[in-house]
Symmetry: C2
Subunit: 410 residues, 2 copies
């Protein structure tokens, strides 16, 4: 029997009527003899409402209690969803994080799933029940409620699919798949039929908001096929799968951008062993995720260190870094929020030279100045002034001929 | 060190500002060196909002899922309350039903607490933390969320006080104690300083809404002193305690009424063994609570059976009883929703004769017809036409001179 894990996001369950529609959709697959595990997010708006409530109480709500509060959002969704199925005459059970035995670490608000004991879910499935699991939440080893952070329901779904050895993990969303770039700024963007985990990881981390990055890591690690598709149509979406020979022929698969980062530069850092570690220590301790790091070649015993952090953590990072910069004798700390990162991604880059060169050339032709560069095996990212983001995305999409389907080297 | 369990109801935590005020109030006691366990209800309006949401989904929501949904109300309250304390610089922890190890039976929506493992709470108290426990909820032995029904937070508080061997259980509410009768219909109603468990049980079950009846049963069983008092003043409320010699001198302690019942009469039931059991079986199976039962003396081999049920269960009961009445050959089933029950309560009645007589006489003087009578050791209840309720309460309060303090036999 086929076991399908499905995940529906906040907009898909945004009202009683929508939850009812999701129930009907799930029933279509259930009636065809599939075993169904359904992961739900909080109803659209609920999560923001709860955050507002917490902020009304105090500026900096206690992280443990914030998770207790936030976890109610998904609890409401799964209860209503199971009610809907029951009222339609089908047997269903909602399970919260603790009931589904989703064990996480203790990092409130950003917890990571460590282990899932699937016993209870399997028992419910054996009774032919449809199982609704609250996304985004788990329990740490001390029995405290944790949440996985924004988009965490994707991770819940993929982790469950892995633990249950499901045949597929379907992520339902309000777009019908993964695009070569953001259709809102590039009308020629094209929906892809398939994409590799690695490419999806780069796209997700670079700002394509379709899938939460940790869910893709999980999927890759346990080889869970993900099907990203629309809640509102029956058409096939995009499969996120292990790499195939075919994919390697493609040079560039997609163009991504990210406007949510800010740049921090520490000027004239004394060039001795351990200073970089000293600078980043308070940042890492605060749980802030540093993305790009660039260090210039040393001249006269000092060096410039530049890195990017999420905009939300910019002020905090600036404060932390300024303190440590003083201690180690750096000249000064500069910050810039008006940046964006534009990237091209493709597994084919591994075997082809000159792609970076072509990207720099395309941007230069439009007089777009490159502030930072970072490369990996399958992506090249350039930090530019944020006002050029849309232009850069369009010219790269055009130049690599992404609207025509997979670009092969020519 | 004194251990105090406090419980605050929905109106006491009805807004962010009110939750903050409750936190300040709790801190006053905490700063005096008391160990504090605080039980909270859902914010006023939340429970009704959740019920509306469920009814929007379907007419008859699945009871298990309804409990999952309802339990979010108290979860929100305890999270916000713990945040408030944290933001004021004090250490606090919220615990949900499953975390506080509140084990119940499986009767969704009306579950009964079976056992509390206080280990986790005691561990938190040892760390000098203020512990906030979500009222109204527990976990059955299979790990399903259950709720205790309306007013269940009182029971949570008293059960915790018993499990923790607390010095007192303070129930904070929007009135400042237990009154000799409802001040809204009898301006001469007087706040009592103390009342026995038994009297409180009769008053609660008879419709005085200050304390949930099961909480008083629990308190009696484990001899937990309850202090009913106002959230909004510092004045002493009413102690609910084991009976004292002093109390026995009092003839009548209070006058209660209940408009929430309806009467069902089965006419000409064949008078043979087992018919009463047959009539009530479907009612009990449906979990409907039957209050008064009166059976007239048999004449010509048949008898009339009259009983009362909550108004909310009236239609359902009528249907169930009509079915079984047909099967056993009763003549017909009659129903009446326009009734109310007026009662006088007092432990002193045990040792005094003639109190019932006096009550009947007082009602008769006002031309109030008595439809049903039921007595216990410490109370006398009369079912009357509901339009006479207020008048009956006032004349009984007056005649037993309750406004002057404890009425001794004279």
């Amino acid at each position: 029997m086929t076991l399908i894990v499905q995940k529906y996001g906040g907009t898909s369950v945004g009202s009683i009527e929508k939850i009812r529609n999701v129930a009907k959709r799930v029933l279509e697959d259930y009636k065809q003899g599939n075993r169904m595990v359904v992961v739900l997010s909080a109803m659209a708006g609920q999560t923001d409402g709860l955050i507002r409530l917490a902020r009304e109480m105090c500026d900096d709500p206690d992280p443990r209690e914030l998770d207790v509060l936030m976890a109610t959002g998904e609890q409401v969704s799964v209860a209503l969803f199971a009610m809907a199925l029951k009222s339609m005459g089908y047997d269903a059970r909602s399970l919260l994080g603790f009931q589904a035995a989703i064990r996480t670490d203790q990092l409130y608000g950003k917890a990571r799933i460590q282990e899932i004991d699937a016993t209870r879910i399997l028992k419910e499935l054996e009774k032919n029940r449809i199982v609704a699991v609250a996304g985004f939440q788990g329990l740490d080893e001390k029995g405290n409620i944790t949440t996985l952070g924004r988009g965490g329901s994707d991770t819940t779904a993929v982790a469950l699919a892995a633990a249950l050895n499901a045949d597929v993990c379907e992520i339902y969303t309000d777009v019908n798949g993964v695009y070569t770039t953001d259709p809102n700024i590039c009308p020629k963007a094209r929906k892809m039929d398939a994409i590799s985990y690695d490419e999806m990881l780069e796209l997700a981390s670079l700002g394509a908001k379709v899938l939460e990055i940790r869910s893709v890591e999980f999927a890759k690690k346990f080889n869970v096929p993900i099907h990203v598709r629309s809640t509102f149509t029956r058409e096939r979406g995009t499969m996120v799968v292990a790499e195939t020979k075919d994919m390697e022929k493609v040079l560039v698969s997609g163009v991504a951008y990210n406007k949510n980062e800010a740049r921090i530069t520490v000027r004239r850092v004394p060039d001795r062993p351990g200073t970089a570690a000293q600078i980043f220590e308070p940042i890492f301790k605060a749980g802030i995720i540093v993305d790009m790091i660039v260090q210039n070649t040393s001249e006269d015993g000092s060096t410039d260190l530049t890195f990017t952090v999420p905009k939300a953590d910019f002020q905090k990072s600036l404060k932390l870094v300024s303190e440590v910069a003083g201690q180690i004798g750096a000249e000064k700390v500069l910050g810039d929020e008006n940046i964006s990162k534009v990237s091209i991604v493709g597994v084919g880059m591994r075997n082809h030279a000159g792609v970076a060169q072509r990207m720099f050339h395309i941007l230069a032709k439009e007089n777009i100045n490159i502030i930072m560069i970072s490369t990996s095996e399958i992506k090249i990212s350039c930090v530019i002034e944020d006002k050029y983001t849309e232009l850069a995305v369009r010219v790269l999409h055009e130049a690599f001929e992404l609207e025509n389907g997979p670009t092969e080297d020519r």
